[in-house]
């Protein structure tokens, strides 16, 4: 935990290397998140999804990226060119910059400032500017309606989101992202179990913040064609696209860091569960085995040669990674990042799953849900959480017990609110 001044004193090269690693990894994750979404949705919907580019369509993200880059870049007539250009840049910058404050492992993060969480919220809240400016600059009805919707939605749900974060801060007693993870290690429990209601609110608000189904109104294709980015094409569109998926990863990372113990492995304090540290080996081993199995069942023939070769290389790579992970120092070093990413993927999977399952809310329903249910519930939750903490500090009650009582009381309020709504 450092103040920003001290970070300026650090050697720049080290910081730059970290930035480079984080953002390369992030770009890859985002690219393959799109691929994963297409594949998972396809399997939910009894179809195959991308299968052509590379084995099982593994190179599809790259092909898509190239396609978007090579497409004609259209700027609508009457658009405000400068703002039209600026908007996607703002959005993408906002969602990528915030990652510099996320701790991926115990000692791997770009920075860890003492008000880290505040900065994550601050930076990610800049993204809405890009959306509203993009919608306005397009000089068209659908984007403007999309931008207005989007802004109202983001601003509303940000309130609930922030309140949900506050209860995690109350439990941790620090704003530093890494400090929050360490607090969970110390207290021996993930905050999701101490504050289930806050976790739920955060989850729902996160879906709304990233414009995902069932809250994907700003870009509801059946109503507003494509919402704020209707008029965008080619490279600029890909920036918006990238920003959206990066934002998904970002909110998942925040939720994981605050409520699911960040880079901690499950039950970090339970000795006999130590074998869990071999999970990365198992995962990579399984991936390698699957690749080899597919390799032998893959159609042979000249047109499949490169695909088979790639599958073989992937299998070999995964197997090599699994073997390498058996070496203790590597295993220890990989733990943090592995568990962090695993939890983030779990979150992202839920996002995709929802998209395959739910219809879409109507705008007024969405706002009513936000203002009449989520925000009051979030406020009540923070109050009860505070009461629970005071009970344990001042009266010496058992901390977990008092917090669970607080959550129970919040759930009662939630039930009441839900009954009022219907």
């Amino acid at each position: 935990m450092t103040t920003l001044l001290e970070i300026l004193d650090q050697p720049l090269v080290l910081a730059l290397i970290r930035v480079l690693i984080v953002f390369t990894a992030l770009s890859l994750i985002v690219a393959y998140l799109v691929y994963a979404e297409r594949k998972i949705l396809a399997h939910i919907q009894v179809r195959l999804g991308p299968m052509r580019v590379g084995p099982h369509g593994l190179l599809q993200p790259i092909a898509d990226g190239l396609k978007l880059l090579l497409k004609e870049d259209i700027i609508p007539e009457g658009a405000d060119r400068a703002v039209f250009w600026l908007a996607p840049a703002i959005t993408v910058l906002a969602s990528f910059t915030a990652f510099s404050l996320i701790p991926f492992a115990d000692n791997f993060y770009v920075t860890d400032v003492n008000v880290g969480l505040l900065f994550v919220i601050a930076i990610s809240s800049l993204g809405v500017l890009g959306i509203i400016l993009g919608g306005w600059a397009s000089n068209s009805h659908y984007p403007l309606l999309g931008a207005l919707r989007s802004t109202a939605q983001l601003v509303s749900y940000e309130v609930a989101l922030s309140f949900a974060l506050i209860s995690a801060i109350l439990l941790a007693g620090t704003l530093s992202m890494n400090g929050i993870v360490k607090a969970q290690l110390q207290q021996g429990v993930w905050f999701a179990f101490m504050q289930p209601v806050a976790f739920f609110i955060l989850f729902v608000a996160a879906i709304a913040e990233t414009n995902r189904n069932p809250f994907d109104l700003p870009e509801a294709e059946s109503e507003l064609v494509a919402g704020f980015h209707t008029e965008y094409s080619g490279f600029r569109f890909s920036l918006f696209f990238l920003a959206e998926y990066a934002a998904m990863v970002l909110v998942s990372s925040i939720a994981v860091t605050l409520f699911l113990g960040g880079w901690l492995r499950p039950f970090p304090n339970v000795e006999w569960l130590g074998f869990l540290r071999f999970a990365p080996v198992v995962v990579f081993g399984a991936a390698g085995t699957w690749c080899f199995l597919r390799f032998f069942r893959f159609p042979t023939g000249r047109e499949w040669f490169w695909q088979r070769l790639m599958l073989f290389a992937l299998g070999a790579g995964a197997a090599a990674a699994a073997l390498g992970l058996l070496y203790p120092p590597v295993l220890v070093a990989s733990q943090g990042a592995f568990w962090f990413l695993a939890k983030v993927f779990l979150f992202l999977y839920a996002f995709i799953w929802f998209r395959g399952t739910f219809p879409r809310y109507r705008f007024d329903q969405l706002m009513r849900l936000g203002w009449h249910f989520m925000i009051p519930l979030a406020i009540v939750n923070v109050i009860f959480c505070g009461v629970g903490l005071v009970l344990s500090w001042e009266l010496g009650w058992n901390r977990s017990l008092s917090l669970l009582l607080a959550s129970g009381a919040t759930l009662l309020v939630a039930a009441w609110l839900a009954r009022e709504r219907s």
């Binding site: 949705l41 939910i44 919907q45 009894v46 179809r47 009457g78 658009a79 405000d80 703002v83 039209f84 306005w136 600059a137 000089n139 068209s140 009805h141 403007l144 309606l145 207005l148 189904n213 069932p214 994907d216 109104l217 509801a220 294709e221 059946s222 109503e223 507003l224 064609v225 998209r355 395959g356 399952t357 739910f358 219809p359 879409r360 809310y361 109507r362 705008f363 007024d364 329903q365």
Partner: protein, 375 residues
């Protein structure tokens, strides 16, 4: 400079926005153009502008012989071609005073009911997609594909089938027809349950459809609405029961009706109709009689002068054919009463005061096909 497109709403005392929805819009089901007058996102009034798919089908009918025109009707409601064909063939048969033999009537009933299921499946998928649920459409297409395969095996075409001929059928059923249909029926009910699991009890689905686009029974009758749109409003009216045609008088089936006339009720009605169609198909396939498949009506059709109106219960509502004969080989006048066109009339009334998102839901619930609206 970016000129702000004026979204000044009447909240701000400024003018309303005119928003053109379509003719190129993801959810106007073709080339429908709805000119919406908006207050913010609220619809003040609307105007349907149609004709982007007008091909003059009725006029073409006057320049073709009766038999030649039969393929054209497939292209009006192109997602329920079999039903169109049935209506046309029966209308001409009525004009001729002929009747198809029982076996032909049974096969016609089976195929038409399968077509009803296929049409409703397409409606369900796209309707759900409009409301934002993207998965049902793929499930629906899976089952629709089975039906289209049966059509293809029967007559070689999947979409514009031209399955029937005036006086009966051209083709005898293929070997394995009954097994195919039974196999489809065997799975189908569980598949409908699967769709209903995704939607019927879903809170969001209910919120999006219940109380949206309400059409009272009186209004529905006054506007001439028919089919599920009419039945969703609680009017128990089904031509299959009121004026039985084909072999419908032989089978038992219920007529599902709604209560409130909202989008949710119409959804439930159509889901029930699929189950009822399944019931009819099962009954028909078990009792299919043997015998000739076509009546002897001669090669050159020259109906006696006169006029006839014959309507059937197409998937979308009352599909009527009004034919005037002058005794020649071609109709003197041919008029199609398409259900989509008439049902589309109620759109404006249903969407006033609702939001843009509801407009999409209501267009979906009307289940229109622009080929039929414009003809």
């Amino acid at each position: 400079m970016g000129q702000t497109p004026s979204v000044s709403t009447t909240i701000l005392g400024a003018d309303e926005v005119i928003l053109n929805m379509g003719p190129q819009h993801p959810s106007t089901h073709g080339v429908l153009r709805v000119k919406l007058k908006l207050d913010g996102e609220k619809v003040i009034s609307s105007e349907c502008i149609i004709g982007y798919l007008h091909r003059g089908v009725e006029k073409i009918g006057e320049t073709r012989t009766y038999a030649q025109f039969a393929p054209y009707v497939d292209r009006t409601d192109y997602v329920a071609a079999v039903s169109n064909g049935l209506g046309y063939c029966e209308a001409v048969e009525k004009l001729l005073g002929a009747e198809a033999p029982p076996r032909a009537r049974w096969v016609r009933t089976i195929l038409t009911e399968l077509q009803r299921i296929a049409s409703h499946l397409l409606w369900l998928g796209t309707h759900a997609l409009d409301i934002g649920a993207m998965t049902p459409v793929f499930y629906c297409f899976r089952e629709r594909e089975e039906i289209l395969k049966i059509f293809e095996k029967y007559c070689g075409a999947r979409l514009t089938t031209h399955a029937f001929r005036i006086g009966g059928l051209l083709y005898e059923t293929y070997d394995g027809f009954e097994e195919d249909v039974k196999k489809f029926c065997h799975d189908f009910l569980s598949r409908v349950d699967e769709y209903e699991e995704l939607l019927t009890e879903n809170r969001i689905w209910i919120q999006r459809t219940r109380g949206v686009g309400i059409l009272t029974a009186d209004d529905a009758i006054a506007m001439g609405a028919s089919g599920p749109v009419l039945r969703g409003s609680g009017v128990k009216w089904d031509i299959r029961r009121a004026f039985p045609y084909a072999a419908y008088d032989q089978f038992e089936f219920d007529i599902p009706v709604g209560e409130n006339g909202d989008t949710y009720d119409r959804y439930l009605v159509r889901m029930q109709e699929m189950r009822q169609s399944h019931r009819i198909v099962l009954q028909a396939i078990d009792s299919i009689p043997s015998g000739p498949i076509a009546a002897r009506i001669g090669k050159v059709l020259k109906p006696p002068p006169g006029e006839v109106y014959h309507s059937i219960e197409a998937p979308k509502g009352e599909l009527g054919y009004y034919i005037v004969s002058d005794g020649s080989t071609q109709p003197y006048r041919l008029r199609i009463r398409p259900p989509s066109f008439v049902n589309l009339q109620v759109l404006d009334q249903m969407i006033r005061g609702l939001l843009i998102a509801d407009v999409v839901a209501v267009i979906g619930t009307l289940d229109i096909v622009l080929g039929e609206v414009d003809r």
